[in-house]
């Protein structure tokens, strides 16, 4: 096992952890977005509440959920480890520095930390309420469901709450703007044929996905 731990603590192995967990989180974002968009259906929250119920009761989805929490934890722990050792590689900085790289790429640690703060706020506000309440119930076709829709709807009736979500999505956009393509380079997937494709999808993803996420609180706030 020596080679194994050796690998995952090496400079390249640590980046592999970042790339794999990062790509998993990107997939998660797509699924999460698909679920959230149901908030915009004009059905008083029925579809969304039934979906939220399935997400917390289906055993398969529960397992995927635990995998997801693990991936976030791994991504965060490895990010802290990596960023800290990267800092020690340059103990004395330059007096004058002109950068020939993108702002996002240089500030992944700061962007990630802000996303983490948002995650704590977000989980506390919705996820915790859904699991441990207090939360009202609503019944559809004789069955009781927790009314998460009402919680979300109430939250987004406040300007500050909506603003936090919109700003956080902008931060996520910058993280993804660098992260998406970077993960492929880390995996060693760099090829003249596919580089432009990866770049295009990465930029499109970094703009479209956070924009759609942000659209939900904006629309609900305006309603």
């Amino acid at each position: 096992m020596n080679w194994f731990t050796n690998f995952f603590s090496s400079s390249i192995g640590r980046k592999l952890v970042m790339a794999l967990t990062g790509l998993f989180l990107i997939l998660f974002l797509v699924v999460h977005l698909a679920g959230n968009l149901q908030l915009l259906l004009n059905d008083g929250g029925k579809a969304f509440n039934i979906y939220a119920h399935t997400m917390t009761s289906n055993i398969f989805i529960k397992i995927v959920g635990y995998v997801n929490y693990t991936m976030i934890l791994l991504h965060v722990i490895w990010a802290i480890w990596l960023t800290r050792t990267n800092k020690t590689s340059r103990p004395v900085g330059y007096a004058v520095s002109k950068n020939s790289s993108t702002w996002s790429s240089r500030n992944m640690g700061i962007l990630g930390t802000l996303i983490l703060l948002f995650l704590v706020f977000h989980l506390q506000g919705f996820w915790y309420r859904m699991h441990w309440g207090p939360i009202d119930t609503v019944s559809y076709d004789g069955e009781e469901y927790r009314n998460l829709y009402a919680v979300v709807d109430f939250a987004y009736s406040h300007l500050w709450y909506t603003a936090i979500y919109v700003i956080s999505m902008a931060i996520l956009a910058f993280h993804l703007y660098h992260g998406f393509g970077s993960a492929f380079q880390t995996l060693g997937l760099n090829h003249v044929k596919y580089n432009p494709v990866i770049k295009f999808i990465g930029v499109a993803f970094a703009i479209i996905v956070p924009a759609l996420f942000a659209l939900i609180p904006i629309v609900m706030f305006l309603n």
């Binding site: 020596n2 080679w3 050796n6 690998f7 090496s10 400079s11 390249i12 192995g13 640590r14 980046k15 592999l16 990596l82 050792t85 990267n86 800092k87 020690t88 590689s89 340059r90 103990p91 004395v92 900085g93 330059y94 007096a95 004058v96 520095s97 002109k98 950068n99 020939s100 790289s101 993108t102 790429s105 240089r106 992944m108 660098h178 393509g181 970077s182 380079q185 880390t186 995996l187 060693g188 997937l189 760099n190």
Partner: protein
């Protein structure tokens, strides 16, 4: 031309350094950056002051010695070596700040001179091909696809100047190490030691205290020899493959 130079002066590895300002009134725009330093040093010697220590050797852009961080960029405003940079790249009256490479793995020895022997130790760890004695092999005996030969040659253009480390926010040496791993991994002669080489060179790179790669691509943008980050992707593939399939437990 008139210029103001702010140069990092440091007596030795153990002392604290500081910037010192020098006024130069008669600089020709045709001088190379190093020649401008020669003129300044002549003045300093005549005044009985300690000349500024800086590294240089070939002065034709092939040895990689002339490490200087000029106005916030390795080797200054052009994508070239300091010896190939000329004063015409600066404005009359400009203030130019010159610092040594900053990296834990490149300790400052004196003024602008840093110790880049970490690079040598990485090469010693595996950046070679073992050749047994015997008859001289025929040239072109081993067929090598032109495309591979070209890629290997492009990687071999690396002069180990350390600009990649200097430019990287993590002081990462991955562009250098990946060029050295690539040039041999692409050629048939490099195959016998391929996996062990990738493992050992990366291990040595980490042991020297260079950072990891965040893929900011600053290294590629500053490399005077145009080494591409495709080499870093190749090194990653080599390393994953080696770690999971070699018999070094």
């Amino acid at each position: 031309m008139k210029i103001t130079l702010k140069v990092w002066r440091q007596k030795d590895n153990n002392s604290k350094g500081a910037f010192k300002t020098y006024q130069l009134d008669h600089v020709s725009s045709d001088m190379s950056f190093l020649e401008m330093f020669d003129v300044l040093n002549n003045d300093l010697v005549q005044k009985g002051e300690e000349p500024i220590a800086f590294d240089h050797d070939c002065r034709e852009g092939i040895c990689g010695m002339c490490s200087m961080y000029i106005n916030g960029r390795p080797h200054g405003p052009l994508q070239t070596t300091t010896c190939q940079l000329h004063m015409r790249s600066f404005k009359d009256g400009e203030t130019i700040t010159v610092e040594p490479w900053r990296a834990a793995a490149f300790p400052v020895l004196k003024d602008l001179v840093v110790d880049r022997s970490a690079f040598d130790r990485i090469n010693q760890a595996g950046g070679y091909v073992s050749v047994n004695t015997g008859g001289v092999p025929d040239a072109n005996e081993i067929p090598i696809p032109k495309a591979d030969a070209d890629k290997a040659f492009d990687a071999a253009a690396c002069i180990a100047c350390g600009a990649c480390v200097a430019a990287c926010k993590n002081a990462s040496a991955m562009l250098f190490v990946s060029a050295k791993i690539s040039q041999l991994a692409l050629l048939p002669q490099g195959q016998p030691e391929r996996k062990t080489r990738a493992e050992k060179m990366v291990a040595q790179m980490d042991a020297e205290g260079f950072g990891s790669c965040t893929n900011t691509l600053a290294c590629e943008a500053e490399c005077p020899k145009g080494i591409s980050v495709t080499n870093i992707a190749r090194m990653n593939r080599e390393y994953y493959g080696a770690k999971f399939s070699s018999e070094n437990v």
